[in-house]
Symmetry: C2
Subunit: 340 residues, 2 copies
């Protein structure tokens, strides 16, 4: 089965599981659950049913694909797939507050519509729902021992997300972030959840611990490659493809890999960049100047090489799992070959 | 063993488990974990070790006492006791942001010291740590099946906390909250976690499902009685005993049970109260006026009677568990006989 066929077959199953996880009939709580449904794309801002594009569901698809690749029926991994997607969305709701982002996927964010206090609480509810949804593995013929291992992995991943977010926020205030520190940050913020998405798929397929670890390794490398590519696209990507304004990462002075690399160099362009990043907020006029200086330091080439390295690591890790599943290989390719 | 002896014996065990749950050696993350330790009372604002009074640890003590009452070694329930205390503290960190509270237990709150964004993330980390800490039950000779049940209860409780918090925030904007709606709110915000603290203690003692349910029933009624008493103390309590300024709940226009009851009455005092609550923020001069009107509607007597009812329900639920443990009965009495 190729990726379009797999997606056509299993995306509706994932959506059904997400809908079921967010269902709640108590009239007094309709707005609480309505805000969650809004964020997932299942409702509009008046809580009427809607079908809005709310992300590509990369993590749950990866989870089901890894279950299939490890020899399991994809259905078995559905509770884990829904859980990782809900956890991802919890982190987005809170990140949007923390980053002061008014829009996501062309819609107002939860905090922008209903205020900070409600948005914090909505994120917390998604967190709890994610964990509860994972417990659905017990209806899939998976042993209690194995479900406890899945749960421990999930909890460690939640914690890793907060660690990555802590580092990301701490880096905003620092001019001397190293490439190693940056890698540690995206390890928590992006790679941990992709590792867990892949690993839980294999775990649901009853893979032994060594194979589960191999899938985690694959997911982690994929996450690193994906994040670094996202950093490159955030600076030099096509607005139509990325869905966010070109060079918005520059205007926000985000410490992405190309920037971290450039600021740590010793040449004249790096010195000028350091002065610019230490000064007042950027305006649109600064963007071409910053991009030119970044190019001069070789930052784009460096980041692209790093992304390729992680991509190669993901590819060989996938070979090491023994998986031969065209749809999974297609997902890997599609994630890492987005048009720039 | 009486309550002071039980506390002297087991409070240090609880504190050790909390310390262990918050330990993390990675230098780059010292501030992330430091903020958590600060909130729990284990560190000062510079993250130096400290021993600050950070709450009475009512929930973990209740958990261990219920384990003992149900015939188990209290040590078995320690992971559950630490987990409920960490979960409680997660909710406090986020509530403080949502309620805009600058101080807690005579110290600045996490958001007041480090900003909203960090505080949201610190709360999230405590949430994940709470769930992970519960997993420690697997080192206590408790079966995986039973730990999965404990986990499901815990997840439902997390969700109930967010539901209670949602209702509490929604009530702020409404003048027509009913007593039933108020009871539903404190069911989620307070009673659910006390029910779970008691129930997990019994579960760790290998009690059968009916007995676990009886302990949950006890904990729930105790929570309702405790919360309503807290409402009464918030209006008429002694500042020295409650630790918060007298009548601060009036100044914040909190919709506590006496207020909800009074606003729903039909007499002249109620009409005047409704007009006052609909008008500009209160000043200190309004406090005696509001308190006199509340008294005139019989709100204090109503709330005290409701608290006594829930107290009586807790007492008979405790009898129904079959537990005969003086220390547990002393905890119940001490919680419900705080000086007014």
């Amino acid at each position: 089965m190729n990726l379009p066929d797999f997606t056509a077959r299993y995306l509706p199953v994932i959506e059904d599981a997400l809908h079921a996880a967010l269902a709640h009939n108590e009239p007094a709580l309709q707005a609480h659950y309505g805000m969650m449904r809004y964020h997932l794309g299942f409702a509009d801002a008046e809580f009427r049913p809607a079908q809005v594009n709310a992300g590509k569901r990369v993590r749950p698809l990866l989870c089901l694909l890894c279950c299939a690749a490890a020899g399991g029926e994809p259905e078995r991994a559905v509770p884990a797939a829904a859980a990782v997607e809900i956890l991802h969305n919890f982190s987005l709701v809170h990140d949007d507050i923390e980053d002061n982002s008014p829009t996501r996927r062309h819609r107002p964010t939860v905090w922008a519509l209903w205020g900070c206090a409600q948005a914090i609480n909505v994120g917390d509810a998604l967190f709890a729902l994610a964990r509860r949804t994972l417990g659905g593995l017990s209806h899939q013929g998976i042993s209690p021992e194995r479900i406890l291992i899945a749960g421990r992995t999930f909890d460690d991943t939640c914690l890793a997300l907060t660690e990555g977010q802590y580092l990301d926020m701490a880096f905003e205030k620092r001019a001397d972030v190293t490439v190693d520190e940056y890698m540690r940050m995206i390890e928590g913020k992006t790679a941990a959840l992709l590792a867990t998405s892949a690993g839980l798929g294999a775990l649901a397929a009853q893979a032994d611990p060594a194979r589960v670890a191999a899938y985690r390794h694959f997911g982690r490398a994929l996450g690193l490659a994906f994040q670094i590519q996202d950093d490159v696209l955030g600076l030099w990507g096509d607005e139509v493809v990325t869905g966010k304004p070109a060079a918005s990462d520059v205007l926000q002075k985000k410490k992405t890999l190309p920037v971290v690399y450039a600021l740590s160099q010793t040449n004249g362009a790096a010195a000028r960049l350091r002065a610019l990043y230490a000064s007042a907020p950027f305006t649109a006029d600064d963007v071409p100047v910053v991009l030119a200086l970044l190019a001069e330091t070789g930052a784009r080439k460096f980041a692209e090489a790093r992304s390729r390295e992680s991509h190669a690591e993901a590819t060989s890790a996938l070979v090491a799992t023994g998986a031969v599943l065209p749809a999974l290989q297609q997902l890997v390719s599609s994630l890492l070959q987005r048009a720039q």
